[in-house]
């Protein structure tokens, strides 16, 4: 494996509890999540719908909707929960969203340059940057004229996911959380997107939290660890073989346990 960054980083999630306010009152969603991810590692988080996977992802990124009631998130020992949303990205965290947001009035070109400038602390050299963006788009088979369109506006589901991975490749985060990047992709798009993740992994020694509902993407992105996520917790963890078991038997075994525990 080629590693251009030899610094080792660690993202630690310790006994994380998260709730949200709903019309029916406070709802506890994450009920004690602990995970440690090091640079270069790929952790798959698999779990049924509604188990809290997106909540975990959004909480790491700092979405204001989610309230951390206890626990910690540390990036190389720094308290991530104390950081604003933009500071987290500047510190090297990236969230590829399950439902990327359409932003009116802002072109992709303008957006990418502004974000890159914010993350790096200074503006990229225009010439090399333009070339880099072009090449990255071509590799992800994103049409060149997307650069002139508003961020995600009118993009199909698959196009939005590619554009998330485009950012992943351009911004070079230390850690990426990919929230169901595979859902809604046809087989060709899945391959293209997976290659993008694998490149970021190889070139930047990125640590990855790969959230998925299905095992399909694991044929393209090979996890080092698999965590089964049920009812706001990690119910079981293991190596890639755990994914094979899920593929064969589904989540029933874990759901039964959760029901008994609950």
């Amino acid at each position: 494996m080629k590693r251009t960054r030899n610094t080792m980083s660690t993202l630690e999630i310790k006994d994380l509890h998260v709730s949200i306010e709903t019309d029916q009152g406070t709802k506890d969603i994450l009920k004690g999540v602990s995970l440690t991810i090091n640079s270069g590692e790929i952790h798959a988080i698999m779990g049924p719908n509604g188990s809290g996977k997106s909540t975990l992802a959004a909480t790491i990124a700092g979405h204001p909707r989610y309230e951390v009631t206890s626990g910690e998130i540390l990036l190389d020992g720094e308290d991530v929960l104390e950081m604003e949303v933009d500071e987290r990205a500047q510190a090297g965290l990236f969230l590829a969203m399950q439902y990327p947001v359409e932003v009116p009035g802002v072109t992709m070109t303008n957006f990418l340059r502004t974000a890159k400038t914010a993350i790096d602390g200074d503006a990229p050299k225009l010439r090399t940057w333009t070339k880099e963006v072009k090449e990255a788009m071509a590799k992800l088979r994103i049409d060149a004229d997307f650069a002139n369109r508003n961020v995600n506006e009118g993009f199909s589901g698959g196009e939005k996911k590619r554009v998330e991975i485009l950012q992943l490749e351009l911004f070079k985060p230390k850690f990426a959380v990919l929230d169901e990047t595979d859902s809604g992709l046809d087989i060709d798009a899945l391959r293209v997107v997976s290659e993008g993740v694998n490149r970021a992994h190889a070139e930047n020694n990125m640590g990855t939290l790969l959230i998925t509902h299905y095992t399909r993407i694991l044929n393209y992105i090979k996890p080092d660890y698999v965590h089964v996520f049920v009812d706001g917790r990690v119910a079981e963890q293991g190596g890639p073989e755990l994914a094979d078991e899920l593929e064969a038997n589904g989540y029933d075994r874990f759901l039964a346990t959760a029901a008994v525990a609950g």
């Binding site: 990124a61 700092g62 979405h63 204001p64 909707r65 604003e84 949303v85 933009d86 987290r88 990205a89 500047q90 990236f94 969230l95 969203m97 990327p100 947001v101 359409e102 932003v103 009116p104 009035g105 802002v106 072109t107 303008n110 957006f111 502004t114 974000a115 914010a118 993350i119 508003n150 961020v151 506006e153 950012q167 911004f171």
Partner: protein
């Protein structure tokens, strides 16, 4: 952003510039049912959904120079129903410019002088071209018309092409004091000029502008509303666009308590291209209203209307009413209008009403689009999750949104100064 797509007789005429299949040479008579099903009236059948308080079609609205024809509005009239009339009491009364008491006018005018090929003078009522272009279409316009003895007249003589804008700087010096104005701008055949009307300070200002665009002339009129917070401004800007001429009107409304502008044009020949652009930014306490009317009264002309606005603050309020009338005579018309609003904070309200009336099927195209989008927590989160600080994120969105209009202005010094204005508006937002 949600686009509302318009339908005429079940045919989409909204966001795309398409002509309308199924039209007869006489135009299409929509049934009442179809017409009402559309979001906004297309007004073929006056009975189905009247466009105005008068008799349906925009073409039938009362115009004239008689005060009696324009009673004090109650707020129930179509053309007044969005407007905060209480604040307009001062400008709607039949009152002369207030100068008797202080012996100094509440509004000061500075006009570019001494330019070769430009004639500066004044016109009394009845002296052409005064009154040949502007046709008062509401009470505000008629009371201003009546109460100006000498209209300011700027004429660019035949074939003169100016490099620098001609400026009329209009400065209110007494908040709440009435100022009436009438400005006549003329470009003789094949002349080329940019006129800038810049409004600052404060007054109860009621200003009419009429613009005569000669054959083959190229005219841009830029009206900048940079008033103080307590100013009130109503006005009607009418243009008559000559054969093969180019005309561009730009309204930029940033300041003032209430700004209500009617900007209109019609044609006097064929082969002309005319545009109206607008840009507005309303903060809390501001009411900014633009009404545009494109009258395709002659064949083979092109029109384009684009108005964009941003709103911030709980009581920020904007209105855009865009009337386009393609008369039976206006074969070969190509027309498009669009209004987009960006609501930045809760409570702010933007109304957007395009009205398209088409009386002939023999047109190149007619379309309209209207949308109001919100900048909300999710947009902000997305941009911030990419490392962009909150303030920059907001600026990025607003500037990106309004730039489309700024770029159309075509006068670099004004484009730059507007970027600074927006910066200042957004500064308020960032804190």
């Amino acid at each position: 952003m949600t686009e509302t797509t318009e339908q005429v007789a079940g045919v989409e005429v909204g966001s795309r510039r398409i002509s309308i299949p199924g039209f007869t040479e006489e135009g299409e008579n929509l049934t009442a049912a179809t017409n009402q099903a559309a979001d906004h009236s297309h007004g073929f059948d006056a009975a189905a959904k009247p466009l105005t308080s008068g008799s349906g079609s925009r073409g039938n609205r009362h115009i004239g120079y008689d005060l009696a024809g324009f009673p004090e509005p109650t707020g129930r009239e179509e053309e007044w129903r969005f407007t905060p009339l209480k604040k307009l009491a001062g400008v709607l009364s039949d009152t002369p410019t207030a100068n008797a008491v202080t012996d100094s006018e509440p509004v000061d005018y500075q006009v570019t002088e001494g330019v070769d090929g430009v004639v500066l003078s004044t016109l009394r009522d009845g002296e052409a071209p005064r009154g040949t272009v502007l046709q008062p279409a509401d009470r505000a316009a008629v009371v201003a018309y009546k109460n100006v003895e000498q209209a300011l007249y700027l004429k660019v003589t035949e074939g003169t092409e100016l490099d620098e804008p001609l400026r009329v700087d209009i400065t209110g010096t007494q908040a709440g004091s009435r100022g009436n104005a009438h400005v006549v701008l003329e470009a003789e055949p094949n002349a080329k000029a940019v006129f800038v009307l810049e409004h600052r300070g404060s007054a109860d200002f009621n200003g009419n502008v009429e613009i005569k665009v000669g054959q083959g002339a190229d005219v841009t009129v830029i009206s900048l509303q940079r008033w103080d917070d307590d100013a009130v401004h109503v006005g009607q800007h009418d243009a008559a666009v000559g054969q093969d001429a180019s005309y561009k009107h730009v309204a930029v409304s940033l300041g003032g308590s209430v700004v209500r502008l009617n900007t209109n044009f019609r044609y006097t020949g064929e082969g002309a291209e005319a545009q109206m652009y607008g840009l507005y930014f309303a903060d809390s306490g501001q009411h900014i209203e633009h009404r545009t009317f494109v009258d395709h009264n002659t064949p083979r002309n092109t029109s384009n209307v684009l108005y964009k606005g941003a709103l911030q603050g709980e009581t920020a309020r904007t209105v855009w009413i865009g009337d386009v009338l393609i008369r039976a005579a206006a074969e070969g018309t190509d027309s498009y209008e669009k209004n987009q609003n960006l609501v930045l904070t809760d409570g702010a309200r933007a109304d957007s009403v395009p009205n398209l009336e088409i009386e002939t099927g023999l047109i190149e195209g007619a379309g309209h689009a209207s949308s109001t989008g919100r900048f909300d927590e999710n947009h902000l989160f997305y941009l911030m999750a990419r490392g962009i600080p909150e303030k920059v994120a907001r600026q990025l969105v607003v500037r990106g949104f309004l730039n489309e209009v700024i770029q159309k202005i075509g006068v670099p010094s004004i484009e730059e100064s507007l970027q600074e204005d927006l910066e200042a508006e957004l500064e308020i937002l960032g804190n």
